[in-house]
């Protein structure tokens, strides 16, 4: 195997393993704060569920 071959193997494996580690650390760490508060769009959901259908933003106005 050439040096470039090794380089491609190491980078590819590194990217995949790095991504897996990043994801599973964040997934298994319940301490993380949610970035988006569900309350931001709570009102819209309730309106949608009352009608049984999603409400288009234009209709809300």
């Amino acid at each position: 195997m050439t040096l470039l071959g090794w380089l491609f193997l190491i980078i590819s494996w590194g990217v995949i393993i790095g991504l897996c580690v990043f994801c599973f650390i964040h997934l298994t760490n319940p301490e993380k704060e949610k970035l988006h508060s569900p309350l931001d769009i709570e009102a819209e959901i309730e309106e949608e569920e009352d009608s049984g259908h999603p409400v288009h933003p234009k209709q809300q106005q």
Binding site: M1, G5, L9, I11, V15, I16, K34, H36, I41
Partner: protein, 521 residues
């Protein structure tokens, strides 16, 4: 009155279930062949670009759409599409999200059952007693019932076992069935994969007569980059196609799985986690077993021939042949076929779920009734694959269900999300409850780049394959009797029309129920 739907018990559970759906036979058989044939290490450049611009955005789109639909008690594409787009046609377009996965199920379970059969023959020693390629090829033909005078009985028995196992898991539901099986099967899958990869990577130079047939050169065959291949558009298309198939996007499965999330559950990180788990199984395990082992035992030229012989030959002939030459070969054969079996089961149960969800959510059927109805129908339709393998019916189902509809449905989804539902609303939904901050550039990618990318694949395939396949002009049909393919197509069209009728009935029923409830009030 809204029916109480199940929800996933754990975050890891849903991630493993989606990853299990994505990790299939293609990870171990299709990816290494694609990489070796399309530039080795250089293939990883278009592969990762497609992963970023196509795979990840489509995963996010499907997870977000599914969770959104689940809020309205819809777990299959017709209901989810209707929730996102109020035009009456939306639910009918969503029919593809039930039709496509079932088409795949009709042949996938049969092939999955071969891996169980071969695992059995590994234990009995039958497989390792076959010492030459010719013997193994003859055994495969005999098992498939293609060889003259051979019996389909053993294959049929293993099919019934596999088929029953799939429906048993589905019967236990999302949490007690799918989630539990995924939480057990995925770690086993990873352990078996790592075990096999370590064994292959420590083969050294097994044949002293060919000192250049060694692991180092075999890895070179797989990974040395050939940059000239990057000028070939087919290589970029192959990488995009691989990403599409491997991540289970465009099938409708992720939509259904995500519909069982709670309204504030994370989707951004979960989607990324399942995609990266699939990447681990594909690039690291898949890229270290079949092609590397073939190059160690048959040299680089031999590995080229092996790669060209097709996935079935690779998985069911070459690998048993290689492992039979090793100490405790039966054990490695068993590990290989169990790896494929577990990968198959976690995928096949997922492709049943959209139809189950449709029957439960839209018709209010009980789990038992839904499973019984679907099992009966799938059993009948699977006979086309079992008895029609010789006449090309498996390839026919694979083209429509596993290739064309996948890309078409993915294209519809991304347009619906970015343009009809609206990228701003979609973006807000994606980030809702998210455990990671999705880079804002993806808003642009989802709206413009991904639709163009999927559209380009669709147009190219349409131009290259669709018409020839539709009109039976493709070279693959040259030696096949066309009448069986035409019969299958008529049956499939009838099934699709039937599905449209069912959707109509379901929505008429919804209207009636809404009316009754209003009257009661």
């Amino acid at each position: 009155m809204k029916r109480q739907r199940e929800v996933w018990a754990t975050r890891i559970g849903v991630v493993l279930a989606v990853a299990g759906s994505a990790v299939g036979l293609g990870n171990f058989l299709r990816f290494p062949v694609q990489a070796a044939e399309n530039g080795g290490g250089a293939f990883m450049i278009p592969y990762f670009i497609a992963f970023l611009l196509l795979g990840i955005p489509l995963c996010w789109v499907e997870w977000t759409m599914g969770r959104y639909g689940g809020r309205f008690s819809h777990g299959s594409a017709p209901g989810i599409f209707q929730a996102m787009w109020r035009a009456p046609i939306a639910k009918y377009i969503g029919a593809i999200g039930i039709f496509g996965p079932l088409l795949i199920f009709f042949y996938y379970t049969y092939i999955e059952s071969w891996t169980l059969g071969y695992a059995f023959y590994s234990i009995t020693g039958k497989l390792t007693s076959l010492r030459s390629r010719e013997e193994l090829e003859a055994f495969l033909r005999s098992y498939q019932g293609i060889a003259e005078g051979s019996s389909l009985l053993p294959a049929y028995i293993f099919f019934i076992i596999t088929f029953s196992a799939n429906f048993c898991i589905i019967y236990f539901g999302v949490t007690r069935g799918i989630e539990r099986v995924s939480r057990i099967a995925m770690p086993i899958l990873a352990i078996l994969g790592v075990l096999l990869a370590i064994r292959v990577l420590t083969l050294g130079t097994p044949n002293p007569e060919h000192p250049d047939w060694n692991v180092n050169n075999a890895l070179g065959f797989m990974w040395n980059p050939d940059f000239s291949k990057l000028k070939d558009p087919q290589v970029w298309l192959a990488a995009a196609g691989q990403i599409f198939f491997t991540l289970s996007v465009g099938i409708g499965v992720i939509l259904t799985y995500a519909s069982y999330l709670k309204r504030n559950d994370d989707v951004a990180l979960s989607a990324l986690s399942s995609a990266s788990t699939n990447g681990f199984m594909e690039v690291i395990i898949g890229g270290s077993v079949v092609i590397v082992a073939s190059a160690v035992f048959f040299g680089n030229q031999g590995a080229v021939e092996v790669a060209k012989s097709g996935a079935f030959n690779l998985g069911f002939v070459t690998i048993p042949l290689i492992f039979s030459k090793l100490f405790a070969g039966w054990f490695f054969c068993l590990a290989w076929f169990l790896l494929l079996f577990f990968a198959g089961v976690t995928s096949s149960i997922s492709i049943l779920q959209p139809a189950i969800s449709f029957l439960e959510d839209e018709f209010g059927f009980s789990r038992r009734r839904s499973v019984a109805l679907l099992a009966g129908f799938c059993f009948l339709m699977s006979q086309f694959s079992i008895f029609g393998l010789k006449v090309g019916l498996v390839d026919e189902l694979d083209f429509w269900g596993g290739t064309f509809l996948l890309v078409l449905f993915g294209f519809i989804e991304v347009i619906l999300f970015g343009w009809v539902f609206g990228i701003d609303r979609g973006w807000e939904e994606l980030n809702r409850g998210s455990y990671i901050k999705v880079p804002p550039i993806f808003k642009f990618i989802i709206r413009y780049i991904t639709p163009l990318y999927v559209g380009a694949i669709l147009v190219t395939w349409f131009y290259q394959n669709f018409l020839d396949t539709l009109l039976l002009r493709s070279p693959a049909y040259a030696n096949l009797p066309h009448k069986y393919i035409i019969i299958l197509r008529i049956v499939l069209i009838t099934f699709f029309i039937g599905l449209l009728v069912l959707i109509r009935i379901a929505w008429q029923r919804h209207k009636k129920m809404e009316y009754t409830l209003t009257e009661d009030k």
